[in-house]
């Protein structure tokens, strides 16, 4: 029985490495002595001696393995950690070569999680460091489709023509009536647009020039219980800002999350610098973190950018949270990747994630007593005349945001980043959780021998594009650069996903609907934005994000 335990453990790899290191010496020595120059007898005489040597070696190896198991058993009984300590005579690969995963060199006193896998897509059109305070956005909308799992026709509490204040309830899900979704701005409800099958697509509000906020009922934070806090947040629109993993749905208050995670930097292409965005809202952010602390028995983890030369004091000096510094290419800024390296999600567990501006909104509810949905949004893209940041509110109209800023009409406007955002028309609105608009060129033109000799530089993981040798930014367009094919190339997805997951095999298990495999390979730890880079680099142009969402929906339906 004691043979089974070490064989199943991960440390077997190190042991094999130790034994394998000794093997060549043995063979080399026997082979050298088998040179016909030295011995008169032919090499056939070496066979019995070699066999004896091999058997002796195997016995030694068995003794070594057995003795190590005994030491391990003893250590386990004594309560010493068997995974982290090395109990064998020989050093393991980590002690000799150093660890490749985390706990690398620390900068300025704190430990840094170094991520090697990933790929930074450098695109032209990142926002300039100026914030336009007077953006002329007049229309804002709440879109029920932004919330995964919401029923397609929620119960709408307002009608066209009603005057609402910021924080008034707009709609709620009949399956979950406690969580209310509130208006981000005050003004008149001018439209309740429907989508396919009479689903509610958006509720549009024409904003007032001066915001009027609904006066929130007084809340005694010191003496309130957790249930009272939760129901206060649900009634006043703050709960909708918290998302739950797995599946990225609205947080379920009946579940206890083992931790809450906030990522304070975004590494997506042309993503905004959250240091600029949070400037001026430091108090709200801290209060928001304090509230989040009350919602979980575990910790609130803050992911900070180790490569940031000028970090914002709001993040650096946050209290009551556990800070982790992460460095690496995209998707190091994704909260899912950070969760994997800090405290991974296992089957049956729940974690909650909140965005930076969402934390500030939650904080404003308790600090100022209003539902403050102010957002700083980065308008980015090579097709803009002046990419910049604008101050506006949640759910701003896309056309208004990019008004007078487009170089030409043949563009695609995206709410979010180019990897996992949604395409929008000018009359549509920024999604609830997004703080970026990307505007890129539509690439619907034929290119002669485009796959062989491309006429314009395009971002690619492959070194076969000579533009990759020079450090340039690219002007990307929406051309697929190839048609959808079967999965041929391997190892591509693994190169850009810094998690202990085999994404190509996960995709295959989703396609064949193998539920056990999906769970075993780690589907709970992933959300579309984590595999967006896999979809970008896929040579076979597979829709990986859609496939993942199908898998997540299947698993959600199982529960």
């Amino acid at each position: 029985m004691f043979f089974k335990k070490p064989l199943k453990s991960f440390v077997l790899r190190d042991k094999i490495a130790n034994i394998a290191a000794v093997l060549p010496l043995i063979f080399l020595s026997s082979h050298l002595s088998a040179q016909p120059v030295f011995l008169a007898s032919s090499a056939a005489d070496m066979l019995p001696y070699t066999l004896i040597l091999i058997v002796a070696f195997l016995i030694l190896g068995a003794v070594y393995l057995i003795s190590e198991s005994f030491v391990r058993m003893e250590a386990r009984d004594l309560g010493v950690d068997t995974k982290k300590n090395n109990f064998s005579i020989l050093p393991n690969s980590e002690e000799v070569f150093g660890s490749s995963k985390s706990d690398g060199a620390s900068t300025s006193g704190h430990k840094v999680i170094h991520l090697k896998k990933g790929f930074d897509i450098k695109l032209e059109g990142a926002a300039e460091y100026k914030v336009d305070e007077n953006a002329a956005v007049t229309r804002f909308a709440m879109q029920p489709k932004n919330f995964i799992g919401m029923s397609p026709i929620p119960k709408v509490e307002v009608e066209v023509g009603d005057e609402v204040q910021a924080g008034d309830v707009l709609f709620f899900d009949k399956k979950n009536p406690d969580v209310k979704y509130c208006a981000p701005v005050s003004g008149e409800v001018i439209a309740v647009n429907r989508g396919e099958k009479r689903s509610i697509a958006e509720l549009v509000i024409l904003a007032d020039k001066e915001m009027k906020y609904r006066a929130m009922p007084v809340f005694d934070l010191e003496n309130a219980s957790k249930e009272e806090l939760v129901s206060y947040m649900k009634d006043n629109g703050a709960w909708a800002h918290i998302r739950q993993r797995p599946y990225n749905v609205v947080a379920d208050s009946n579940e206890t999350p083992k931790a809450i995670f906030v990522s304070t930097f975004d590494t997506a292409p042309m993503a905004p610098d959250l240091d600029i965005i949070i400037a001026g809202r430091g108090n709200e952010f801290q209060v928001g973190l304090d509230i989040l602390n009350m919602l979980t028995p575990g910790k609130v983890h803050l992911g900070l950018n180790a490569k940031d030369e000028d970090p914002s004091p709001v993040f650096e000096n946050a209290t009551g949270v556990e800070k982790h510094w992460i460095s690496g290419p995209h998707p190091a800024g994704n909260v899912g990747v950070q969760i994997h390296h800090i405290d991974p999600i296992n089957a049956g567990e729940r974690v909650w994630t909140v965005g930076v501006q969402d934390v500030a909104t939650i904080g404003s509810l308790f600090l100022e007593g209003i539902y403050d949905a102010e957002r700083v949004v980065a308008i980015t893209g090579a097709e803009l005349k002046e990419p910049q940041y604008v101050t506006t509110y949640l759910g701003a109209n896309i056309g208004d945001l990019v008004a007078n800023n487009l170089k030409n009409d043949h563009v695609r406007m995206i709410s979010g980043d180019v990897l996992s955002g949604k395409a929008k028309k000018a009359e549509q609105f920024l999604d609830f959780f997004d703080d970026q608009v990307s505007v890129i060129e539509e690439g619907d033109e034929y290119e002669m021998f485009g796959w062989l000799a491309p006429q314009s530089a395009r971002p690619s993981l492959s070194p076969t594009f000579l533009s990759n040798l020079v450090d340039t930014s690219y002007v990307a367009n929406t051309n697929t650069h190839g048609e959808r094919r079967a999965l041929v190339v391997s190892d591509q997805y693994e190169q850009v996903l810094p998690m202990d997951i085999y994404p190509q095999h996960l995709v295959k298990s989703i396609l064949v609907n193998d539920l056990e495999r999906m769970e075993g390979l780690g589907i709970y730890e992933l959300v579309e934005e984590d595999v967006a880079l896999c979809e970008f680099v896929c040579t076979s142009k597979q829709p990986v994000q859609d496939i993942l969402r199908e898998g997540l929906t299947t698993m959600m339906d199982q529960e």
Partner: protein, 437 residues
């Protein structure tokens, strides 16, 4: 713009003539990268696609093609005792090689692509680019005098049973080029093994060897060369040199060990490739250059190549230790000079569809190919080469290797879940005991 509009006008209808439509679509997308834009998912896509990937592999093969074509002619004339220096009679050897190679290339590609077009038309999807590489590899692994009908049959077998039956590109279990060669190996063994087939244009009458008579095609070139004042082919039928042996280095080694090989061929000759063999497998340096190109382009896995070398070394060492026959006593380093090890390593084992798909799996897969291939080469009484069979054998095992690597991943995840829930239980315990009171 006018050209594209014209091409759109002549596009065959998809429903009425599916085969023509697929044919048209295949050539159209070859000439023009399509104008489809992203719909769902990411809005930008990587510039790399399957066509470009396959094409880079074909480019990496071109050095082998150039050398192999020339070498067919060189071996032919050396066997006849004429133009013995490598560059002597350059024009003759090149033309001779091309006349032998081009029919093989054309037949392999036309048959293979034709079958793929028919299947794509039947299934209603555009043709997938998998056969570009297989079609480029198949002529390189065939003997130069192979009858074209045998080649056509083997390609048809490989594509229909090896690829389309499993679902097309990306779904095959075994390497297609090797399947076509293994078909000939088992069905028409005398055409692909032995000492008679590796030098082109030598015929046997009784126990005497003669150069084959040159056909009419050569006569055309003769008139051109004669006009220019260069040497010509002539009528053919010359006697071979004394001590002629059509044996490849491996054939010699199987009979008499390394001394038998070095009597006929020098190690330098074997390295540069001026030896009989399949068309593309002989020039080791060019193959290595091609392999480095593929590694640099991140298309072929260096893990498979390195582990295959290690496996071959370990296998060679084991066999040297045993040393029962002269062939076994050939030092393991010398094994790399002979046969198609480098070609198999660079282009056959690294086929991404049939190899293991996890990084750990690739190390195991490559190592076992090296080991098994060396064993088959040396211990096989019938045929002194092992890579084709070893690679096909490990192709069948690759999914199993991947399965166990994935199982280890799953087990890691479950173990992590168990420790995490154990920790959570421990944290919850004090509350349980309190409430029980």
């Amino acid at each position: 713009m006018g050209l594209i509009q014209f091409l759109h006008k002549i596009e065959p209808d998809k429903k009425k003539s599916p085969f023509l439509h697929t044919l048209y679509d295949g050539f159209f997308t070859f000439a023009y990268a399509p104008n489809t834009v992203t719909k769902t998912g990411t809005h930008i896509k990587d510039g790399m696609d399957l066509k470009r990937t396959m094409f880079i592999v074909v480019i990496a093969l071109q050095l082998c093609y150039l050398f192999g074509t020339y070498n067919i002619g060189h071996q032919h004339f050396v066997a006849l005792g004429e133009h013995t220096s490598f560059l002597q009679g350059f024009h003759l050897k090149l033309v001779y090689g091309l006349i032998k190679l081009l029919p093989l290339f054309v037949v392999a590609n036309v048959v293979g692509l034709g079958i793929e077009f028919v299947y794509a038309a039947k299934k209603g999807h555009p043709i997938e680019e998998g056969f570009l590489v297989s079609g480029a590899l198949i002529p390189l692994i065939m003997p130069p005098d192979l009858p074209l009908w045998i080649l056509a049959m083997s390609v048809a077998f490989a594509v229909i049973l090896g690829k389309e039956a499993f679902g097309g590109t990306g779904m095959n279990i075994m390497n297609i080029a090797l399947l076509s060669r293994v078909f000939i190996f088992f069905a028409y063994p005398t055409f692909i093994s032995g000492d008679e087939v590796w030098i082109s244009g030598i015929v046997k009458e009784g126990t005497e060897h003669f150069g084959a008579a040159y056909s009419m095609v050569y006569g055309i070139f003769d008139s051109v060369f004669g006009g220019l004042g260069w040497s010509t082919f002539g009528a053919g039928g010359q006697a071979v040199i004394d001590g002629y042996t059509g044996a490849t280095p491996l054939g010699l080694a199987a009979a008499g060990g390394w001394p038998a090989v070095t009597e006929v061929y020098s190690p330098a000759q074997m390295w540069w490739g001026a030896i009989p063999g399949s068309i593309g497998e002989v020039p080791k340096l060019f193959i290595i250059i091609g392999a480095l190109m593929l590694i640099g382009a991140k298309i072929a896995s260096w893990r498979i190549m390195l582990s295959m070398i290690l496996g071959a070394i370990v296998g060679g060492m084991f066999i040297n230790l045993w040393g029962a026959t002269p062939f076994m006593e050939v030092h393991w380093i010398n094994h790399f000079y002979m046969g198609s090890f480098f070609f198999a390593m660079a282009f056959m084992a690294t086929d991404p569809v049939t190899a293991a798909r996890t990084q750990t799996g690739k190390w195991i897969y490559g190592f076992l190919i090296g080991l098994v291939g060396m064993v088959i080469r040396v211990l096989n009484p019938a045929y002194p080469e092992g890579w084709m069979l070893a690679i096909l054998f490990m192709n069948v095992f690759a999914p199993l290797i991947d399965y166990y690597v994935l199982e280890a991943n799953v087990a890691r995840r479950m173990a992590r879940a168990k420790t995490s829930s154990a920790v959570a239980l421990k944290q919850a315990e004090p509350q349980l005991t309190v409430s029980e009171h």
